[in-house]
Symmetry: C2
Subunit: 252 residues, 2 copies
Amino acid sequence: MRILLTNDDGIYAKGMYSLYLELVDKHQVVIVAPESEQSAVGHALTLYNPLRVKKIKRNGEFYGYGVNGTPADCVKIAFHEIMNSPPDMVISGINLGPNVGINVLYSGTVSAATEGAILGIPSIAVSLNTYKDPDFGFASSFTKRLVDVIHKNGLTNGICLNVNIPAVKREMIKGIAITRQGTSRFIERFEKRIDPRDNTYYWQAGQASVRDEDEDTDIKALANHMISITPLQYDLTCHKEIDYLRRWRIEV
Amino acid sequence: MRILLTNDDGIYAKGMYSLYLELVDKHQVVIVAPESEQSAVGHALTLYNPLRVKKIKRNGEFYGYGVNGTPADCVKIAFHEIMNSPPDMVISGINLGPNVGINVLYSGTVSAATEGAILGIPSIAVSLNTYKDPDFGFASSFTKRLVDVIHKNGLTNGICLNVNIPAVKREMIKGIAITRQGTSRFIERFEKRIDPRDNTYYWQAGQASVRDEDEDTDIKALANHMISITPLQYDLTCHKEIDYLRRWRIEV
């Protein structure tokens, strides 16, 4: 298969490199990724600035294309300008840190997979549930096998998969859970600080929410040391609310 | 009511000012908005840079707080730092240009309303369907009345409304449609150019898709000169796909 590989941690990130090495012996892999870290950019696009595409080497050999834009930009420019024909699959990751619960909305990693789905390409986002000392080995080999399963079964058009992998030893992983997006979010906190010129500034921090999650959520699966796979789509409509609103009397 | 007013066109934008003037005689309005234009930032957050909050004057009087961040940042910092207690409603807009179809995903205007919904506050995003010579008069007075209707009826927790208003004379408006998000998107196009130093760059452009839309979509409603109101939520799970995926054989 021809696979477009991208991420939001930037083209030099270890997680993408590990996955690249795993995939490249079997597939044709084209890397188009942000030049610098783009975490929490959500589904942002770069419209008001030019995009530049740089050829990036790794270990002295051509590795991929670095773009001064967001993950969504990367998928679009790969599709329209860099690749001569659409890829068979878009893979975003492997991200350092989980993308579960409401934080999925802020995730550049997930937005790249959503962008692939919008373009009609089977797409997955892969994240590892740790922020430090990551070992991407198992996550990479699992992703490689998942790619084959997706290829064999076929994904419904417009759907992408959000995959989160526990950062524990393989023998500790309890299984695979097909999940839904949980409702927990980081409870943000702004640190108020004073800069060297005596001006106030704020730094956005956060802590994990303590909300109890149902068994079928991505968050609970990860907590239970299961690989979480959530199918995502990009229709934000709350269909259940439509009938309720139609009973309102609103005048022009 | 205490209303938090924000946008993605920036704190100096005409659309927000028109709405502010309309609301301020009846409500307590707190403006917290990006200092500069933030279109197409999606649901981005500023985590790796400090945020600064500036008091902004208009016509010599205090007008609101300008933030060097995204619309989602503005809602979060207003909620956690600027306002002493949560607002009764979050309003984002009035945006110059529609936010319908798949472009809802890229919209900073909508992301501010979604952020309000995540925080448990009734929230709306309001956009005017034109990019030039905007007359925000009717859109502002309609929004003011809609605010009362929402306050009277109550919005389900976690839902925000995406409101798009035709840019035609009031007597041309055919009514109000409760809609779903359409599936049309801009078909993007990258203009390849050469800079003064002979380097290639790309500029992301786009044209409206020609996809046929169903009658119950936001896009079709606007085309029919109706005000479109779409209830949005922030669970991206494709629930229908879960059973299908559970039948796959995936091994750890």
